[in-house]
Symmetry: C2
Subunit: 469 residues, 2 copies
Amino acid sequence: MAERAALEELVRLQGERVRGLKQQKASAEQIEEEVAKLLKLKAQLGPDEGKQKFVLKTPKETLTGKYGEDSKLIYDLKDQGGELLSLRYDLTVPFARYLAMNKLTNIKRYHIAKVYRRDNPAMTRGRYREFYQCDFDIAGQFDPMIPDAECLKIMCEILSSLQIGDFLVKVNDRRILDGMFAICGVPDSKFRTICSSVDKLDKVSWEEVKNEMVGEKGLAPKVADRIGDYVQQHGGVSLVEQLLQDPELSQNKQALEGLGDLKILFEYLTLFGIADKISFDLSLARGLDYYTGVIYEAVLLQTPVRAGEEPLGVGSVAAGGRYDGLVGMFDPKGRKVPCVGLSIGVERIFSIVEQRLEALEEKVRTTETQVLVASAQKKLLEERLRLVSELWDAGIKAELLYKKNPKLLNQLQYCEEAGIPLVVIIGEQELKDGVIKLRSVASREEVDVRREDLVEEIKRRTSQPFCIC
Amino acid sequence: MAERAALEELVRLQGERVRGLKQQKASAEQIEEEVAKLLKLKAQLGPDEGKQKFVLKTPKETLTGKYGEDSKLIYDLKDQGGELLSLRYDLTVPFARYLAMNKLTNIKRYHIAKVYRRDNPAMTRGRYREFYQCDFDIAGQFDPMIPDAECLKIMCEILSSLQIGDFLVKVNDRRILDGMFAICGVPDSKFRTICSSVDKLDKVSWEEVKNEMVGEKGLAPKVADRIGDYVQQHGGVSLVEQLLQDPELSQNKQALEGLGDLKILFEYLTLFGIADKISFDLSLARGLDYYTGVIYEAVLLQTPVRAGEEPLGVGSVAAGGRYDGLVGMFDPKGRKVPCVGLSIGVERIFSIVEQRLEALEEKVRTTETQVLVASAQKKLLEERLRLVSELWDAGIKAELLYKKNPKLLNQLQYCEEAGIPLVVIIGEQELKDGVIKLRSVASREEVDVRREDLVEEIKRRTSQPFCIC
């Protein structure tokens, strides 16, 4: 320990030395030299407290009691220490744990990573057991609905920029649901499980949901019917206004808070120019336990097959909401950090984009190669290597066939298959003349370009931004 | 099964219908309508063979016998079916398995993902048990050394473009090592284990390596000394030439092949303009079993602390080589697919970049925000939301404080802390005049910009490309 203290002191002194030299505008070499020493010392110091946090494991207990009836989908595993572990179910709970462990009270970040669910896969709909989620979250104590509105704006920006057709974002609030359950006469103990039943309304009819509530979950039919009257409503801000006048709902403190916030939210979404994409939908419940306020879910609208037909939802591609209690669950002193965020289902969206392109028979390019470096005769590999290297160094996406003496026809065919728009052709005569043949694969036009102008000419022709689809 | 066949037939017919309509240049609505039907049918068809492969698990057996003495670092886990699984140790073996399973004989790809090693972590040097690797591989039957040279070119491009100082790429060939072991009199059974000893020469002295060979691994001292004479040599293509003349080594078929290929490789690397970064180093062995040909490893060179001092290697940041037998191990018929590739240690490089920046006391920005939308007085939240949305829609990276009435001072301080270069300030007077104040945080200069010119002015000022460091 005394050793470590000494080392730390050395690091501190060496750091001061570097600062001093910089203030004195010492030579780059001299500073570099002192920096090198400093790095050596720091390396000897080894890991410090803060950094070790990053290798803390996530025991199963972290995941329990966060996902309600979805918990059965969590993957359990045993590590070599015999400890029961789980593969992460989403990126939200790990994010909350991270905030609590590192005592962060204020952060905005996105995170793209794999999550695991022990579900029945459906490849064609992009549902896998191991899949990517892209999460965006805003954590911190802020004025109402401002971060929430930004999350919805981002969700709409992302979905609009993808070629997946029209979409709708359903919005609701857990406090409105709880308030509604309360005034309808649902016992507190049944709130969460009734919530999961309501959540199924996007897939099954009200009758089936009612049967589950009454038959399986022992709700009185009268209570279920009262819920039915509410959850079958959806609309815009006008529905919010209407419910604020609802004689019973407006008497419930929670519901009133939720409705008040939704009113502010719609204001902000109008300023963000996305109010037309949003539908206040009382049947939206979201299965997960950790939501505490506004919740939302984006569904794609399939173009009606017959005119006049209602647009048909083809399932959720993004969802999220406010979870103000989750970080507190991981904090020893229960300190709360309000959070709001969203998750995008990456594979889900990819599969939709791919299917649309397939159906339209648009070829999906798998590379961004702009130009193939080809040769017209044999014994030109060295020239091809020299040129492709020049193009790479100039930031041009170039390729060549890994053959010593490829046939020109094969090189041109490769461009057709790979969708490479340009090909430069090196020939003996052209080498003598100091030119290169530049050929457009689509039009098959060829022009001789002076070697020194080639990079500029290729850049000019490929200046259009490249599209992943 | 008959059902599925019928469905497939329907999909085929509907596909033809879509094609037909497109040939007849039918209306977009009409095509869209048929495409919608086609998608519905395809959804009913469900997953097909090809796609199911993606969810196949990777049982431990896949990993055994691929990593030599490093195998002890593999993480073992049990899944819910009780099957013994492992967390992937690298991205190379999974890549080879993927090629074999999908019968791919020709592919070039990069892959950034996490791998797991049950090693002793060293945070300050960026060594974790869970860490990212970035792999690039070229698989396929090609003419000698062309893909290998491209891999080394890419490795040098990546390392040169990072702020991690000077580096050197050590190159060797497994066939040269095996040939050398053979002529030195190492028994075949000891090739791999002696290989691992040689590989330690970058960390410990020859004496210690010799002791391990003789003491632990039972090699005759004479044999060890002969190995020592070879493995302590390193140089450029001239060393290749010299060894091609070596009376004994040149008699060994394997060594001769390896040296011949290295000669070609140096030719290509010269054409790629990176030969000066490459050192043929007979002590480079690489621990892993699966390499069959050329192997390489990039080490950073620390600036000498005293002039005239040998540059000191601070460890490997990237490595790779040729593995022609690995795919065959996973193919039922043992069909081989020659592969060559490289891995970049992402955290390793990050930690070096961060330490250099810390030592130089350059602040690392954690966001790319170009402009903060601020207000000079109260009651301007709506204006801030409207403006930030305008900037977002114009592709400008903008932020605002999530407060209804933030103090101007706090908003300016936030810019200083977050390193945001520009701030636009909305004020009541400016709103009346149809202008916005644009302030440079560094110089504190302020100008009034006409609202309609704001986007252009911000783009003009932020046109310089953004740097991650």
